[in-house]
């Protein structure tokens, strides 16, 4: 007799939270495997499911015996399906412990990692990411045999209080607001929230950045700002975020955490961050996204226009919009709010000029058509290739 579904999510903080729709769809019997350092977080996010840890990231000695024990334990579960969410050699190695016909998501056939049709489409569309728009939560969630409806994934975002949570930076500094701009955004965001106090959130190693920010704030705001950077456990971070009325963040795991607990996010998406892929999931979030011709850029490529995508975000008109949602936005930035459709969460422009909004709507209509959820708009078929209609696993009846 087959056991539960096993979800292998060996990536980072934000990825674990973005697995939410898949986990919700698979139900409480599913087992989630994550990096050992993230098991507490995963248990907070998915208290109903069994979470197992594997020491994956970090150089700790003697791990191989733990790996062997964990793999043996997972085999004992005899999972009916093994969801492989990461295109990585580590993921492929683990997959080899399970029969090929049970692999979902990525798969290992004939000893090599294979990309199944749905993920192959998602990867191909990501090559035109400026025009496309499919939230990663939905990409993974739609792997489930019966995906949960988008509205049931997260609670609707509502301010729980008047504290502003401020996430200093993401992993890549390029995707984060410089300190003076972040200080200005804090003021505007507090005005929007109707609050006066803030809490700084960040990982160990960002303490200096926190000090710089505190120094850049008006003295009264600095005094009413609590600095928790590098000082919170997962549990403390979870509770702190849950107590906020609004979380100001670049594209980070904390932003996904806020969405998970129903706290509205005010996102600053710039450089390589693209709200249409990794925006906070569910209704009630607002994001300012830079849309310069070079956006979204590749993190691995050097920036040819340094500072260009920060300028519109630092513009007084942008700060005014953040504070009161009034007036025009400068060129190069768009304000968007999250909405739900049949496919999942998407972001709709509410201010500023979004040069790709029309194409994105067309794109989503084609994806929805693939899943049998709607009819495609005229011209949307250009997102598909000839082979998509010719080969198994790519036609609409095979997605439903």
């Amino acid at each position: 007799m087959s056991g539960p579904a096993l979800v292998v999510q060996l990536a980072r903080f934000g990825d674990i939270l973005q697995t939410v729709r898949l986990m919700a769809s698979l139900g409480p019997k599913a087992v989630l495997l994550v990096d050992e350092g993230l098991t507490t977080l995963a248990r907070l996010a998915y208290p109903q499911v069994q979470v197992r840890g594997l020491p994956v990231h970090g150089k700790v000695g003697g791990q191989w015996q733990r790996w062997q024990e964990t793999i043996a334990g997972l085999q004992t579960l005899n999972p009916e399906a093994v969801y492989l969410l990461n295109y990585s050699g580590l993921s492929a190695a683990l997959a080899a412990a399970f029969a090929e016909d049970r692999h979902r998501g990525y798969a290992v056939w004939g000893g090599s990692l294979r990309v199944p049709p749905w993920l192959a489409l998602a990867i191909r569309w990501a090559a035109r990411r400026r025009q496309a728009g499919l939230n990663l939560v939905d990409v993974w969630g739609l792997l489930a045999p019966r995906p949960t409806v988008p509205a049931a994934v997260h609670p609707p975002a509502r301010a729980q209080g008047s504290i502003l949570g401020v996430v200093l930076a993401g992993q890549n500094p390029r995707r984060s607001l410089p300190v003076p701009v972040l200080a200005a955004w804090m003021g505007a965001a507090l005005h929007r929230l109707g609050g006066t106090t803030a809490v700084l959130l960040g990982a160990p190693g960002q303490e200096r950045l926190a000090a710089e920010l505190l120094a850049a704030l008006p003295p009264a705001l600095a005094r009413s700002t609590r600095n928790l950077v590098g000082r919170t456990s997962w549990q403390e971070l979870w509770e702190t975020v849950a107590g906020c009325g609004l979380v100001l963040s670049p594209d980070t795991g904390v932003a996904h955490l806020a969405a998970h607990v129903g706290v509205p996010v005010l996102g600053a998406y710039l450089a390589s961050a693209w709200v249409h892929e990794t925006g906070p999931y569910g209704e009630g979030h607002a994001v300012l996204q830079t849309v310069l011709p070079c956006a979204p850029c590749l993190e691995t490529a050097p920036c040819t226009t340094p500072g260009a995508c920060v300028r519109p975000l630092a513009h007084p008109a942008t700060l005014r919009w953040i504070a009161r949602e009034e007036g025009e936005l400068p060129e190069g930035v768009v304000a968007l709010k999250s909405q739900l459709d049949a496919l999942g969460t998407w972001y709709v422009p509410v201010a500023g000029e979004d040069p790709t909004a029309v194409l994105r709507a067309s794109f989503r209509s084609q994806v929805a058509a693939l899943w049998g959820m709607a009819a495609p708009q005229s011209g949307a078929v250009e997102w598909m290739e000839e082979r998509d209609w010719m080969l198994p696993g790519r036609r609409s009846e095979e997605y439903g």
Binding site: G62, W64, W67, E69, A96
Partner: protein, 425 residues
Amino acid sequence: MVEVGVRRILVVLPLYGGSLPVGRSCARALAALGHVVETFDAPLLYPAFQNLRHLRISQAALDALENGYLQLVSQAILAQVERFAPHLVLAVAQAPLSRQALRELSRQGIPTAMWFVEDYAVFTYWQAFAPAYDFFFTIQREPFLSRLAAIGQQQAWYLPLAADPAVHRPLELTPAERRIYGSDVAFVGAGYPNRRLAFRAFAGMDLRIWGNDWDGEEILAPYLQRGGARIDTEEIVKIFCATRVNLNLHSSVRPDVTVAGGDFVNPRTFEIAACGAFQVVDQRALLPELFAEEELAVVDSLEAMVAATHYFLRHEDERQAMAKRARQRVLAEHTYTRRMETLLHLVGKRLGWRAETPAMGHLDPELAAAVSDLARRLGLRQDASFDDVVAAVRARQGTLDPMETTVLFLDEWRRQYGRGAPAAA
């Protein structure tokens, strides 16, 4: 023998045909020798190729499509080479490896060898392919070896066929199986012209003929089993074991010469012997160096074949003693394992292969012991390195056990975090 160390070897199987089981036997033998072996499974691609001819298209279009398909197969071989990074690509006759692909392998510095298990006088395509391989092995000696040298293939050696004792072995048959497969005299194989003529001399005996290509043979038709259907290997073994006298007449396309007296020794000779079964075989120039007189009943004419058959049907003890000796000779000298040892010795000597100290020293002692234990379970040589074990695990089919998975995981982990990382140190 040169100690060649543990080698990664890709065996390229043909799309179909008689050399296919030879290729599979080579792969098993190389694995049994403790090497890391993958096969390029060309037969997987054969059905689509065959079905091209069922399309309603012109012959010219079919030719173009077939050529294109064969190029695709070669590309697939190159892709497997890229992933497996073999020390040697070993092809058996008819392997779908184009000369262009061979040139590419040469450019990449990957040695190639061909075991040409065909009659060079009949299948002359060696003239086009032999110079493209680094090493060439034949089942015939002179003048073939000189002809190879003349066209630029200097690294060519005689390597006779063999048997795989895991496949061709004595079987205890049930009475029912003896009824189905047994007879006084039998032949298994294709109906070449010389066999059609020769076996008429056995008409009237308790004779059974198994195999295909016997269409239109009226005199022998009553003896043909299953309407000339192809017989699979497992059933062939049962037939060999159930038959009192197995006829083994080497093929010839000349109908006027029943006993052709050629040079190479066919696989059936080794296979019947490996089964511990008895055979009467026609004389071949290269047979005396492979088997002694008391091991096989060797005849040089059709009349002698008939006489020997009658004689040995009457002398069961002699028959059994001779069959036993033949089997012992095969097990000692004529297995695919021995052939592959010889092949690797010759190739390894020229490529400077050596056994290396097991490269487990960088692992912690407990891990090194666990990996060595896994290497033994996988049948690898004692000097297998961690990377050899990883390659052998990757080549495994099916679901892996926790230790095998752990080794793969560790290998990937080392790629991500560096080879000196503590989990491996």
